[in-house]
């Protein structure tokens, strides 16, 4: 700690603080323009200049100067005021000052500072900027005539996002922020630059002319897309979510968001939303009153007796899931499951067998301090972009070594010094086994208190780095180096995403990853962790609460099979569209057709169209409750708007259904939370009022494994056939909801089939051509996207789009053997 004096006030602060940070901590105001908490010190704007007695003769930038013992700082003198004002005058000479039509008006740092320093007239004169605006893309508008060159956009895109869209070009007065070759912006559109810009130079286009900042009501909630659990602050006006506001004070994401979180909110305002209950009468879905719809649903379910299955998505709040579980009890069924069943076997069965846990062992912020990171699946950045940014920061700030086990090259592979262990489709397991083999072989494995070593050793005898490298088409040295780095790192992390498009071998991969976490000592060690990240916002909550088949119950796939064979009489789908997102469309179709079907959704999904009763539900923006993210962080959702028309939250609908069955239901989500916390393992310590700005991590920052059991899993044979299709998630989408959101759709509006340049040349397919993939049980067609991500013989397609009919050929396998042709 360091002692210093600022404006006569005695202050003790950390020795790594800057003067600005020390002042801020102690409530002393120093103006800034180019400073941002999450970026490295930069010192360009010269607005934060202060006087330091020990450095007399010049003014000291407080945002870049570290505190030293005994420092005496003065933050305001006549000279400082004058210099700051001159700087502001300089900025306003060429700036266009079009505040009346600037969306930033009212929350612009330049405007506020000009006001504070009373820059009424300007002693200097000069020509106004007349630079062209960048309005090429639909999401981010750049107007460099308002730019103050604070460099925050350049820095955040590099330091945090790791994309590097922007740079300064030209020199001196002609300096400006530009993209490569000064063309229109074409990036991943996470909008970090938008959130960082202190002026109106980079703005969200969808928000243009929608509202003045002071007209917006700000509501802190949690993003409804992936399991990262980013805080989104809804900007609400007239019961519409108009924008997502910047907020780096709340939550786990430091104000960082991805394209979905920042621009994917508009589906909640969509005019396609269901606003009235629908009941099938004479073969057609017709609008009905809530009373009639509830009665019809209750009757159908009662008729089915206990031959009922309930299937939910993982975007329901904990409270709603809890009510749903109670409802299953009332119906007397054990047939309860979520998100395709298979997709989370890694957590529920894989981790449970090895570590005795059903959750990640550590929290995201710890990864920033990791020295070695292993990401399993190249899609990790696509499924959890903001966690990907944390990994990028670990690399940049901490020189962390990143290895990626991947069947294709993704964003993570492009990060500095990233090592990609490329493998043939579906062979992650072999590589994980080879890493374990290397650790045991070289005597590096940490085996204290670990059971099953001998059995594992015997089982892994054929998985030497060399043998596996030859089998998967990789490099043995890379495997060995990765194993050594992971075991030798002070802090290390293993990250793995799970979800609907990644069902194959999910349990086995989790076991192999857990084996590695045990042998490297990562599991349960302070500062290190094994992260299993769910695809959906409340994937972890669904597992914690136990939205899983009971002792005699059927899982998702079994339910659908049973329904197809007439063994189940009714199905209740909540926030799930299996017809589009589940593997094996034929199976789903027959299941939905042969049962009495109740669907609760916000849109008339493909599955809802088959329903007998449809309840219009509420989106995340309309809910109060909690989500539990992939690091066990329980965070609060807050309703920002009212549901459209007669739509109700899933909570309210489930309350009504319980009432129809004469069962008691907690009145409010808060009551439901108290009840669920009492009976959910790990939640006993979580009380709703303990959930603060940064949520509440159940089980603590580091979760100790309940056991340390190594379990041998065998690898996978290399896939047969010349061409394989991989199924996965695209960065711009999440599940099937984002296709209703304008932002993500503006970037990726239709399904595509991605292939590498070599294959494109062989098949004579160019970017944008129609391509046809024929598989054993059908074929799909989409536009070709040619790039350099995919190895020869491998295709990729995202699963979000219904029109692709992907699940007509996808039945949950790791890779689909296909025959490609130009269509």
């Amino acid at each position: 700690m360091v002692n210093l004096t600022i404006d006569g006030k005695q202050i003790t602060t950390s020795k790594t603080s800057t003067i600005y940070e020390a002042a801020k901590e102690n409530g002393i105001y120093i103006p800034v323009l180019c400073y941002a908490k999450k970026l490295l010190p930069y010192g360009a704007c010269r607005v934060c200049l202060v006087e330091v007695e020990q450095m007399k003769g010049r003014l000291i930038p407080s945002c870049t100067t570290p505190v030293t013992e005994g420092m005496v700082v003065t933050t305001m003198t006549d000279e400082i005021r004058k210099v700051r004002k001159t700087v502001l005058e300089f900025l306003l000479v060429n700036h266009v000052v079009d505040c009346p039509v600037c969306d930033k008006g009212g929350e612009c740092d330049l405007q506020d500072l000009s006001y504070e320093y009373e820059v009424v007239t300007n002693r200097f004169e000069g020509e106004k900027f007349d630079l062209p605006k960048d309005e090429v893309n639909p999401l981010i508008e750049r107007n460099m005539n308002r730019c103050v060159l604070c460099g925050k956009c350049v820095r955040v895109c590099d330091e945090v996002v790791g994309y590097g869209s922007y740079s300064f070009i030209n020199r001196g007065f002609e300096t400006k922020i530009a993209t490569a070759f000064d063309r229109g912006l074409d990036c991943e559109f996470c909008g970090q630059c938008v959130s960082m810009c202190p002026v109106g130079a980079i703005l969200p286009r969808p928000f243009k002319f929608k509202a003045r900042p002071w007209q917006l009501k700000e509501v802190d909630s949690v993003c409804g897309y992936c399991g990262n659990g980013c805080t989104v602050t809804l900007g609400v006006k007239d019961n519409q979510v108009e924008t997502i506001r910047f907020n780096d004070e709340t939550g786990v994401n430091d104000g960082n968001l991805c394209v979905r979180g920042r621009f994917g909110y508009s589906y909640v305002n969509s005019d396609q939303r269901l606003t009235k209950p629908l009941v099938r009468t004479n073969g057609e879905l017709k609008e009905a009153s809530w009373d009639d719809a509830l009665k019809a649903a209750a009757k159908g379910l009662k008729d089915a007796g206990d031959k009922v299955g309930i299937l939910s998505g993982a975007r329901l709040s904990n409270e709603e899931l809890f009510l749903m579980k109670n409802f299953a009890k009332v119906l007397g069924t054990d047939n309860l499951d979520h998100s395709g069943g298979e997709s989370y076997k890694g957590v529920t069965e894989g981790l449970f067998e090895t570590l005795g846990l059903q959750a990640s062992t550590a929290t995201f912020p710890q990864v920033e301090n990791a020295n070695a990171i292993l990401a399993i699946r190249s899609d990790f950045y696509e499924t959890h972009p903001v966690f990907g940014m944390v990994i990028n920061q670990a690399i940049r700030r901490n020189d962390a070594k990143l290895s990626v086990i991947a069947d294709k090259f993704g964003k993570l592979s492009k990060l500095p010094n990233a090592r990609t262990l490329i493998h043939k489709p579906g062979m992650e397991l072999n590589l994980l086994n080879a890493l374990c083999h290397t650790l045991i072989e070289e005597g590096l494995a940490k085996t204290d208190g670990v059971d099953g070593l001998d059995a594992l050793k015997a089982a892994l005898k054929d998985y030497s780095a060399e043998a596996v490298a030859a089998a998967v088409g990789g490099d043995a040295d890379k495997i060995k180096t990765t194993a050594r780095e992971l075991v030798n790192a002070e802090n290390a992390a293993i990250v793995l995403a799970y979800g609907l498009p990644y069902t194959a071998y999910s349990k086995e991969i989790a076991i192999a990853a857990a084996n590695l976490a045990l042998l490297t000592g990562i599991a349960g060690r302070e500062g290190s962790g094994l992260y299993l990240c769910g695809e959906k916002a409340n994937s972890q909550g669904a597992i914690d609460i136990g939205i899983l088949p009971g002792n005699n119950g059927l899982g998702a796939q079994q339910m659908l099979s049973a329904a197809g064979q007439g063994e189940l009489k009714a199905l209740y789908l909540i926030g799930e569209d299996p017809l589009v997102s589940y593997p094996d469309k034929a199976l789903v179709e027959s299941a939905l057709e042969k049962t009495f079907l109740v669907v609760q959704d916000i849109f008339l999904s493909a599955s809802a169209e088959k329903a007998d009763v449809v309840f219009p539900a509420g989106s995340f923006a309309e809910k109060d409750g909690t989500f539990t993210n992939a690091e066990r962080r329980v965070q609060r959702l807050r309703a920002g708007i009212k549901s459209p028309g007669e739509a109700k939250t899933d909570y309210a609908i489930l309350q009504s259904m319980l009432k129809e069955f004469d069962a008691a239901a907690p009145l409010s989500p808060v009551e439901a939370f108290t009840a669920l916390a009492a009976e959910t393992a790990g939640y006993q310590d979580v009380a709703i009022d303990k959930i603060g700005a940064h949520g509440f991590v159940w089980g603590g920052e580091t979760l100790q494994p309940k056991k340390k059991q190594l379990v041998a899993v065998s690898g996978v044979e290399a896939p047969q056939g010349d061409y394989q299709l991989l199924v996965g998630s695209a960065l711009y989408h999440s599940g099937t909801v984002s296709v209703h959101a304008k932002g993500p759709m503006a970037v990726v509006s239709e399904p595509y089939i991605e292939l590498g340049r070599e294959d494109a040349a062989t098949l004579e397919i160019e970017d944008g051509d129609k391509i046809k993939l024929k598989a054993a049980n059908g074929e799909i067609q989409a536009k070709a996207k040619v790039d350099r991500r995919l190895p020869q013989g491998v295709f990729f397609t995202p699963y979000h789009f219904a029109e692709l009919q992907l699940n007509s050929i996808y039945t949950g396998q790791a890779a689909i053997a296909v025959q490609p042709a130009k269509a």
């Binding site: 930069y42 001159t86 900025l91 000069g126 060159l149 020199r171």
Partner: protein, 305 residues
């Protein structure tokens, strides 16, 4: 360092100082070539030998790059503490065309202009700084009576403006505005109060700039105002350039009593705008004149204004 690392050349905030965390995050010693060259001699001959040369506070020798209106330009190495007169008149052979010495810009473009009164001052770190200049890069630009001090300030500021990396606001915008004001003055558009405005903003730019470039770039302006304020005032108030150097303030007329009737000017005029007969004072036809200043530059008697 940024350039070596493949980044855009921009100054970085200090601390951390390069000696602690420099190139690729490693401690780095950054010095001028001259310093490194001296180090090897000090190693060979010892510190006592080195400090036997020079003055109390400026030891050893100093290499100056002499340019401008001196007979012999180039690099000269002299012991520190020598006077400016010795450098200019002894080492460099005096002023070109035997004109009158007017000023010397010491320390490169960010240094300061010293007037003729300073010619007997010793050249060492302390005296130069006291006089409003600096040792800096060791550049010495010698000026004679044909050099306009406002124009020279404009010239140096143009250099620093172009060299500005664009990172910090005072240097990026401030220098451009200063330059525009100087251009205004040298083209006869100067306004009352410009000198005070220049001085005031120069002070703020020096105080608030991020790196050495911005912190010193206003020096030529400040030192020329300090020693040659009258030239600024003449430009602004009388719209005249006393050195007849600012092209837009030239009248292109022959001063009769200075003209030696030599006939050199009609010969250099590319557009035949000068009428001259042997034994007569030359006359410039302003309709034909393109203001190229060939005649002005050629005249050895300062007879054209």
């Amino acid at each position: 360092m940024a350039s070596i690392e493949g980044h855009r050349g921009m100054s970085r905030p200090r601390p951390p100082f390069p000696a602690v965390r420099g190139l690729w995050g490693k401690p780095t010693n950054i010095n001028n070539v001259e310093t490194y060259a001296n180090v090897s001699y000090i190693f060979y001959n010892g510190a006592d030998w080195y400090s036997s040369i020079g003055t109390e506070n400026t030891k050893g020798t100093k290499i100056f790059a002499l340019t401008g209106k001196v007979k012999h330009t180039g690099l000269v190495e002299v012991p520190a503490g020598i006077t400016m007169r010795e450098v200019i008149y002894d080492v460099c052979g005096g002023i070109l065309n035997n004109r009158k010495f007017k000023a010397v810009q010491a320390g490169g473009p960010s240094g300061g202009c010293l007037p003729s009164e300073a010619i007997d001052a010793e050249v060492d770190y302390d005296s130069l700084i006291k006089a409003g200049a600096m040792m800096g890069s060791g550049g010495l630009v010698v000026m004679d009576e044909t050099t306009c001090m406002v124009d020279i300030a404009r010239f140096f500021l143009n250099f620093t403006r172009v060299e500005s990396c664009g990172k910090c606001i005072p240097c990026r915008i401030g220098l451009k505005i200063m330059l525009e004001i100087l251009e205004r003055i040298t083209s006869g558009q100067g306004q009352e109060g410009d000198i005070e405005l220049l001085q005031d903003m120069a002070y703020d730019i020096k105080k608030s700039s991020l790196c050495g470039l911005g912190q010193t770039a206003p020096n030529p302006v400040l030192s020329t105002i300090r020693y040659f304020r009258d030239e600024y005032e003449t430009h602004i108030k009388e719209k005249e350039c006393p050195s007849h150097s600012c092209k837009e303030l030239l009248h292109f007329r022959v001063i009769e009593d200075k003209c030696k009737k030599c006939g050199l000017c009609p010969r250099v005029c590319p557009v035949d705008a000068i009428e001259w007969e042997k034994g007569q004072v030359a006359k410039i036809d302003l309709d034909k004149c393109t203001k190229c200043t060939s005649c002005y530059d050629a005249c050895r008697f300062m007879a054209i204004e």
